[in-house]
Symmetry: C2
Subunit: 296 residues, 2 copies
Amino acid sequence: MIASSPGKAIIFGEHAVVYGRHAVVSAINLRCYVKAEKSNDFRIISHFGKTGLDFRGEHAYISYAIKRFSESFSIRGVRIEVRSQIPPASGLGSSAAVTVATLGALNAEFEAGMDREEIFELARKVELDVQGIGSGTDPFVSTYGGGWIIPEKRKFSSNVEFGVINTGIESITSEMVRKVRELKEKYPELVERIMDSIDQVALEGARALENGDVTKLSLLFKINQSLLRAIGVSTPEIDRIVADVELSGHSAKITGAGGGGCLLTTGEGDFRIKLSAEGVRVEDFEDWREPYNRQV
Amino acid sequence: MIASSPGKAIIFGEHAVVYGRHAVVSAINLRCYVKAEKSNDFRIISHFGKTGLDFRGEHAYISYAIKRFSESFSIRGVRIEVRSQIPPASGLGSSAAVTVATLGALNAEFEAGMDREEIFELARKVELDVQGIGSGTDPFVSTYGGGWIIPEKRKFSSNVEFGVINTGIESITSEMVRKVRELKEKYPELVERIMDSIDQVALEGARALENGDVTKLSLLFKINQSLLRAIGVSTPEIDRIVADVELSGHSAKITGAGGGGCLLTTGEGDFRIKLSAEGVRVEDFEDWREPYNRQV
């Protein structure tokens, strides 16, 4: 059986959310597809390569998803095949999406009867298995789909589309989170006030998204990017890209941890994303080309 | 008689100081020299040209300085000649410096016996005559010299030198102040939190200046510039210059209103400035070349 689940974009509030402030996050229309087939052993096939269970390599999330699933539902083996539309290590939630889609595919293939809540709980455990820490936001959004204001988990909807610019620079989340923590330890009052500022941007940003107010979104992108720059998670290379976007009359901001990864822009990017209401789902097709030919 | 007075640099806190937060400002070692000679009429000579009293043109500050002085000390006429080391319209306080130096020269030439407090009070009036609004900070620093944490007017001293990058883009203070006020009217909570952040930068910055901590200054320059960018007073052109400076391992920030003008940098600039303790003073030379050959 094939299941799929969406990537996500943090639209406002990354980093500040680690310190209790608001963030605005949404599932997007880029999805990860996972086919699970009963087998006598364990095989995982993705664009990273072919492995068995691979807890420390590129297939860590999938391997732990199988492990967590098999703790509840005894299985002899499974062949997992992955096709993802979500660029990896770019802040667009590819890890959570492959985890949730794997759990969804296992659930369908082995007729385990898990509901979304149970899938989310397992995906949350997998995130901690692999990363040690994690807010649970990515597995949540990838499971349920839709747009969310966190930490309250208040739902919003918006028809706004964004461009995505892939900087091509690898973003290492743990390093960026550590960098901000160190700055905060050194200058607590200063960083708290910047986090308060980001909090206000996120609250205004949620309103702008709901109202489809692109002018306001563009202004808030610029402010949020400036505040992310203030806490040290932009780079001169990103600043130059952002300056180019602004000269064209739009704005752009880091999405996710920063230091590289992807930028969201109100202008044209390398590709476009829509916000999506769709969470994890079982797919009815057998042909792998189908999701790429469908409008998701 | 010739008198001179210094330009100033806002090192931290521009714009936020308009909303009651701290700023760190200092006299610098670039000075404006004004020669006043008794005459039968009024003539003003500067690199802008030769005029009579000229309340609405390039010599507005000088003309109002003569007017305010003549309200207390009746004079038939005066020939004013100006030579300034301070680039005009660059955020380095050239207007206040020419005002204070003119008052100093008039004071000496006509033996009016004003003390610094009286010179400052007249310069403050001239600022309002020409600009309509003004914090009085520039005339204060140009009169008394030294480094000041405002609004408390707590004095500090520092041996740190900075580079100055002249963007070559004209900075129109009133336009930038209006832009920030409009943003604040639209998003009061958000802008207040950014102003709070700048306040913290200024307080940390004063400590870093007193301790000669250039590493910390560089970090705080970057943060302050980011926060100025957040309130809309940077430009993509400035952002690119700043990115270039950061790639060379230093940092840079707007000094003054932004939108153009000068940047302060911890690296090399177009020229260097030192913070200076010296306020308005009467000069003992008659040779105009002297200040340019002296180490001030």
